[in-house]
C-alpha cells in the first residue's frame, strides 16, 4: 500500500541487559555466599552446600508452575495441601500393598487431579477468583488427607525410594540434577515457546488474549494441573526425605513458594517476570537460610530476615518500574470494572 520502512533489527543495549532484575538476584546470591563464608567456617564445603541444596529443593519444584500461574494473574494457595494429600495417598496405597512405582504414579495422578480441579472450578465459574477457589480447596485437600490417614503416619518404603531424596549421582545430588533439568525445561518453555508467549499474553491482557484466539481456559487448566503435578513431585521427594508421611506435612509450603516467586521478580499483577528470576530466588532464600542456620541463628530471627528481604526486594522492583507499573495497575482496574 505504501513504502514506509519500519526497522526489524533489534538494537542490543548493554545497559538494558544489565538492568534486569536477575542480575540483582545474582548479586544478592554472591553477597550471600560471601557473607556466609565469612560468618561460618563450615560454609565453603562442597558436601555441606550440596546437602543443604537438597533440603530446600523439594518445594522448589512448585516454583515452576507457580511462576506461570502468577504471570497469568492467578495464584494457587492449595499447593501445600496438594503435597500432603498426594503424599498421603501414595503412602497409604503402598502400605495397602500396591507396588511402590504404582503408588508413585497414583501420587502424580492425585496431584494432577487436585490441580485440575482448581483449574476446572476457575474456568467453569469465571467470576470466582483463584484466591477463593484455592483457599477452599486448600482446606478441602488437607481435610481429605486427614480423613485418609487420621492420626497415623505411613511409611516403611523400599530402600531405593530414599535414593530420590537423599541419593547422589556421582558428586551431585540426584534431586539437584532433576531440578536443573526441570529448570532448563521451564525456562525454555516460558521464554522460548508459543506456550510461554501465551502465558505472558494472558497475564498482560486476558481479554485481548482471548480475542486473539488463545484458548485461555485451556491454558489455565494446563498450568493449574501442572501446579498439582509439581506438588506431587514435591510430595515424592519430601516423602522420600522423611521416609514416612502424615497429613500435616508441607504445611504453609504455598507461602514459601509464593515468597520465592515474588522475590524472583514476578509481579502478581501479571504479565511480568522471568522464570530464571524465580529459580535464582530459590537459591537466594535457600542459601540465606542455610548460612544463617550454620551460625545457629534462632528461628524467629530467620523469620524476620526472610520477611524483610521479601518486602525489601519487592519494594525495589516497584521503584524500578514505577512509571510502567502504575500505568498497568490502572489499566487492570479498568478492566476489572468493565
Amino acid at each position: 500500500m505504501n513504502t514506509r520502512i519500519i526497522s526489524n533489527t533489534k538494537v542490543f543495549s548493554w545497559k538494558h541487559f544489565f538492568l534486569q532484575w536477575e542480575w540483582m538476584l545474582v548479586g544478592l546470591l554472591v553477597i550471600i555466599f560471601m557473607m556466609n563464608s565469612s560468618i561460618s567456617p563450615y560454609f565453603l564445603n562442597y558436601t555441606g552446600i550440596s546437602d543443604a541444596t537438597m533440603t530446600f529443593l523439594d518445594k522448589a519444584f512448585i516454583v515452576f508452575p507457580m511462576v506461570m500461574i502468577m504471570i497469568m494473574r492467578e495464584i494457587d494457595i492449595s499447593v501445600g495441601s496438594t503435597v500432603a494429600l498426594s503424599s498421603v495417598v501414595m503412602a497409604s496405597l503402598y502400605n495397602a500393598g500396591v507396588p511402590m512405582i504404582a503408588a508413585m504414579g497414583a501420587c502424580l495422578l492425585v496431584g494432577a487431579l487436585c490441580g485440575f480441579f482448581n483449574g476446572y472450578l476457575l474456568v467453569k465459574y469465571r467470576t470466582l477468583s483463584a484466591v477463593i477457589v484455592t483457599l477452599s480447596t486448600m482446606i478441602l485437600y488437607r481435610g481429605i488427607a486427614y480423613m485418609i490417614l487420621e492420626d497415623q503416619s505411613a511409611g516403611g518404603f523400599p530402600t531405593w525410594f530414599s535414593f530420590l531424596g537423599w541419593g547422589y549421582v556421582g558428586p551431585v545430588p540426584f534431586i539437584l540434577i532433576l531440578f536443573i533439568i526441570f529448570a532448563i525445561g521451564a525456562v525454555l518453555l516460558l521464554q522460548k515457546t508459543t506456550f510461554g508467549r501465551r502465558v505472558y499474553a494472558i497475564g498482560s491482557n486476558p481479554v485481548a488474549s482471548r480475542y486473539s484466539g488463545i484458548k485461555v481456559d485451556r491454558m489455565k487448566l494446563i498450568v493449574f494441573t501442572l501446579a498439582g503435578l509439581m506438588a506431587a513431585i514435591t510430595a515424592i521427594f519430601l516423602t522420600s526425605r522423611m521416609g514416612s508421611t502424615r497429613p500435616n506435612v508441607a504445611n504453609m509450603y504455598e507461602l514459601d513458594v509464593i515468597a520465592m516467586v515474588a522475590l524472583g521478580g514476578i509481579s502478581t499483577a501479571g504479565g511480568k517476570g522471568k522464570m530464571l528470576g524465580a529459580i535464582l530466588a530459590v537459591f537466594v532464600i535457600g542459601y540465606l537460610q542455610y548460612g544463617l542456620g550454620l551460625i545457629n541463628i534462632p528461628a524467629q530471627v530467620l523469620l524476620i530476615v526472610i520477611g524483610v528481604l521479601l518486602i525489601a526486594s519487592v519494594t525495589v522492583t516497584n521503584l524500578r518500574g514505577k512509571g510502567k507499573f502504575q500505568k498497568k495497575k490502572s489499566r487492570k482496574s479498568v478492566q476489572k470494572a468493565s
Binding site: S136, M147, G307
Partner: protein
Amino acid sequence: MTEKNLLKHINLANISKFREFGLLGFIVLLAIVFQILNPAFLTFGNLADLTKNTAILSILALGMMLVLITRGIDLSIGATLALSGMIAALTVREFPGLSPLLAILIGIVVGVICGVVLGFLVSKVGILPIIASLGLMNAYRGLTYWISGREWVSAYQMPASFKDIATSSILGINTLVFIAIMIFLFFYYFVNNTITGRQIYALGSNPDSAKISGINSHKVYMLVYTMMGGLSGLAGVLWVSKFASAQGNTASGYELTVIAACILGGVSINGGIGKVTGVLLGAVLLGVLDNGLPLIDVSPFWQMGIEGAIILIAVLFNTIVKQTVEKSHRLRRVI
C-alpha cells in the same frame, strides 16, 4: 426455555437479593441437623459458648471485610494478634495493677502500629497487599518470639482483672460478645452512614474513578489497614485474656479462617462488595461448624474435610446464583 425454568430463575434472583437470608437459612438448617443428632446443641449453655467463641472471629472478619472491599488482603493478622496479645500479656505480667482497659489499649496501639506499617507499604510504596502482608506476617511472628524470649505468659502471671476481660459481663452479656456487638454496630453505622465508609466501597468498586472524584485513596488504604491492625490488636488482648495464656504461636494460620468467614459472608475479593450482616453470618456459620461438629461425634479427623467441603459448596452456590441471576436479567428482555 420453559415457563417453569423461567420461574425458577426468577426465584433464585430473589434469593440473591436476600443473600443473607440464604446464609441464615443454611445456618438454621445446620443447627437443626446438629440438634437432631445431639440435643445438647440448642441449649442455653452451648449457645453461650458458641457466641463467645465466635466473638473474636467476627471482630476480625469485620476488619478483613473492609480490606477485601478495597481489593486488598491481609495475611498478617494472625501474627499481629499474637504480637499485640503477647505485648499486652508481658505488660500485665510486669505491672499486675494495670487497669484492664489500659491493657486493651496497649494491644490496640500495637495492632495499630502493625497496621500502619502494612498500610504504608500498600498505599505509599505500592507493594501488593498479599506480598506485603506475607512478609510482615513473618516479621511480626518472629518479633513475637523475640520479645517474649520464647516463653509463654501463663494464667498465674496474669492478674485476675485481666483475665476477667473475657469472663465478665456487661449488661448481662459476656464482655467478649458485648465488644463484638459494639464493633458490629459501629461498623454497621460506619460503612452505611458515613462518608468515609462509603468511600471505602467506592474505592474498591472503581479505584480509577475514585481518584477523579477526589477520594484520597492513600488515606483510605491507610485507614482500612490501620483499622484491621487495631482490631487484630484488640482481638489479641481478648484472645490472651480468654485463654489466659500468651504463646508465640498464638493464632497461627488464623488469617485464613477469617478470610473464609468473609468469603462465606459474600464479600467479593474483587472489591466493592460486602455487607456487615453477611460477614457476621459467615463468622457465625464457621462458629456453628466448630461448635457443632465435635458435638455430633464426627471423627475429629473428618472435621477439616467437612469444613472445606462446606466452604467450597457455599462459594459455588453463591456463584451459581449470581450467574443465574445475570441470565434471568437477560431473559426478561423480550425479543
